[in-house]
Symmetry: C2
Subunit: 199 residues, 2 copies
């Protein structure tokens, strides 16, 4: 395997630093120090901190896409089991970070209202992609008879995305999985309009 370039290393380590400290809280100096590369490397590879931020968001979204493909896209599972698997995979990723970091996309959104429109657009695309995948999974659940035919899959997917972000935020605040467990309980117990046996 070729040695990772300074660029790869800056993105790999820098994503972690941004995830932990926020985009505003992670200075270029912090990032190059954590990556163990010369400061000049950063300016060689990225035209600006914003250009770096765009790549960090894309890289994080790519990882989220991978988790979604392996779970929401796993045709070997019944549709609602795919949804449970997606929640479990995300929860494991949060637990890996000691429940300290939350979601990088949510953090970008929250941390400032002027983080730059290009960054906000990239975050929005990532959110929209997740919402689309969730809606597809819900439609598959309707088709499989797991959810009521009247389910508004797009609205429900939007609600799931938002409620999941909120549970992630509260889990970070409390350093506890409890909000994530409560989210899953209420989602499957009440939010999803399960198809009854008589319908």
């Amino acid at each position: 395997m070729p040695k990772p370039s300074h660029r790869d290393r800056l993105l790999h380590v820098g994503m972690q630093v941004v995830h932990e400290r926020g985009f505003g809280g992670a200075s270029v100096r912090d990032i190059v120090q954590a990556a163990g590369v010369p400061q000049g490397s950063f300016t060689n590879h990225f035209a600006s901190k914003e250009a770096f931020g765009l790549e960090v968001i894309s890289r994080y979204a790519e990882a989220a896409r991978g988790r979604a493909a392996a779970t929401l896209g796993n045709d070997a599972l019944a549709p609602l089991q795919r949804l449970r698997a997606w929640i479990a995979a995300d929860r494991a990723a949060q637990a890996d970070g000691g429940l300290r970091n939350g979601c990088l996309l949510g953090n970008f959104t929250a941390e400032a209202n002027d983080c730059g429109d290009a960054l906000r657009q990239r975050v929005l695309e990532a959110f929209a992609e997740t919402q689309r995948r969730l809606a597809e999974c819900l439609r598959a659940a309707v088709a499989a008879g797991e959810l009521a035919p009247s389910t508004d899959c797009d609205e429900t997917a939007g609600f799931i995305l938002a409620a999941h972000q909120g549970a992630t935020l509260l889990a970070k605040a409390q350093r506890s999985e409890r909000p994530l467990a409560g989210f899953e309980d209420v989602l499957f117990g009440r939010v999803l309009p399960l198809a009854g046996p008589s319908r």
Copy 2:
């Protein structure tokens, strides 16, 4: 009315600056400039930026407490109408900020994982207080026959708090009230275990 002191002015204007730019993104220089007071005022009145942050959180929580008292605590309304009034009051406050700022408590939580344990504890207390008020309102709704007697009011209150934070975050990302409207629809349409006429 006495002229507001520099301290009041720093807190009043500083809260707005922190709400817009995040705590990390708002430097002491930004805050004193926005408040139009000499830099020395800040150090006269606050032992540290963290001490200032604690007061900002308390002040924001106080405003949230006022909105909750006027809505969730409004005995002239039926309990679920109190909940709707709380959501509407918060939504109006978000719209006032052009849907750009989100919730200051959520922002503090999201922006960094090392913002200081004292700050995180203060945020947690404010979240816990809102959750308690929501749970009280749900218990009143059960007592009034609006919600099913089997309602787990504490779990549901935790879910509402988290889902509301998430909807607020997505509204900020999208600069749109749509996630807030979706939250309210799903909350009243499905999450709340309404007491049926036959129960």
